[in-house]
Symmetry: C2
Subunit: 170 residues, 2 copies
């Protein structure tokens, strides 16, 4: 079995002024996430930060392998494991979100840091954020009803995006 820790402590570790300033903020958040827990500002990390800032900008969702391929294409050699290890840390630090697709596979995505959920296109896997959700009191109530102390939740909505509808989705 995998790491049972579920340390979405809920709140982002860094203040995230809304993304109005674009990549700068995201860049800083990613750097912070790396350098909070570990010191070295290494080459691989720099190119990772750079690439992730790009991906944050486009909002693209990617698989671990996508990211690896993309990094080794634009820059030279980088280890697969390095990418996996970085993703793990960044998910932990709430810089990346793990998004479940409806087929059970998953992608990652640079997230804004504040609480949100995902709307996923089942045809092209495009992911969009939204804020709507049940209230915290409601979640507490659900928990109370079953003897649970609620810590976190995840809401994912699946559908077809306009682009795919046009290009002949059922």
């Amino acid at each position: 079995m995998k790491d049972q820790s579920c340390s979405h402590s809920g709140l982002p570790r860094h203040d995230c002024a809304k993304d109005d300033n674009g990549q700068i903020d995201v860049l800083r958040r990613i750097e912070n996430a790396f350098f909070d827990l570990s010191r070295p500002n290494t080459g691989p990390r720099r190119i990772l930060v750079e690439k992730l800032a790009e991906l944050a900008h486009t909002g693209e969702a990617f698989s671990a392998d996508d990211l690896w391929q993309s990094l080794r294409a634009s820059h030279g050699r980088i280890g697969r494991a390095t990418v996996f290890r970085a993703i793990e840390q960044l998910v932990e630090s709430n810089v990346l979100d793990r998004v479940e697709l409806c087929d059970g596979s998953h992608r990652y995505r640079v997230c804004g840091g504040s609480h949100h959920h995902h709307l996923v296109c089942t045809m092209c896997n495009r992911v969009v954020d939204f804020l709507d959700c049940l209230s915290d009191r409601k979640f507490d109530e659900i928990g109370r009803r079953h003897g649970f102390t609620v810590k976190d939740h995840k809401l994912t909505v699946y559908g077809t995006c306009d682009r795919c509808l046009k290009s002949g989705g059922k």
Copy 2:
């Protein structure tokens, strides 16, 4: 990539009188799911149906491997692939739910057939159902706002169950 189909057509294929009659109903639902699409009432399927009725009763969540181990322990040889193939069909037929744990792994669970969501204990992986959710109009509105046609959604709540809290969970 995996099978991109997302054929939670949403509605259960068989009427599911609430589980007041216990295992009988569940048993029938599982049998129907198997025998709708394919004929042979084979040995492996019989023991699968039997075991799943048990699991439905206890509400236990299990991995594909758990189920395989358990079947080969109680009955003789059964192929790993047979179990995986059965799970696939039963998920498709809305007899089993796939539940994501907070670490990204997943379990299966015999479900009642009607729309519901899951409350998952992050310590023992116990799973409990609940019904609360946003309204359909709300989901439609979320979709409309982003140009999506909403088909399905999934809400999973993570927390600590009373049993685990008592036995020293943080």
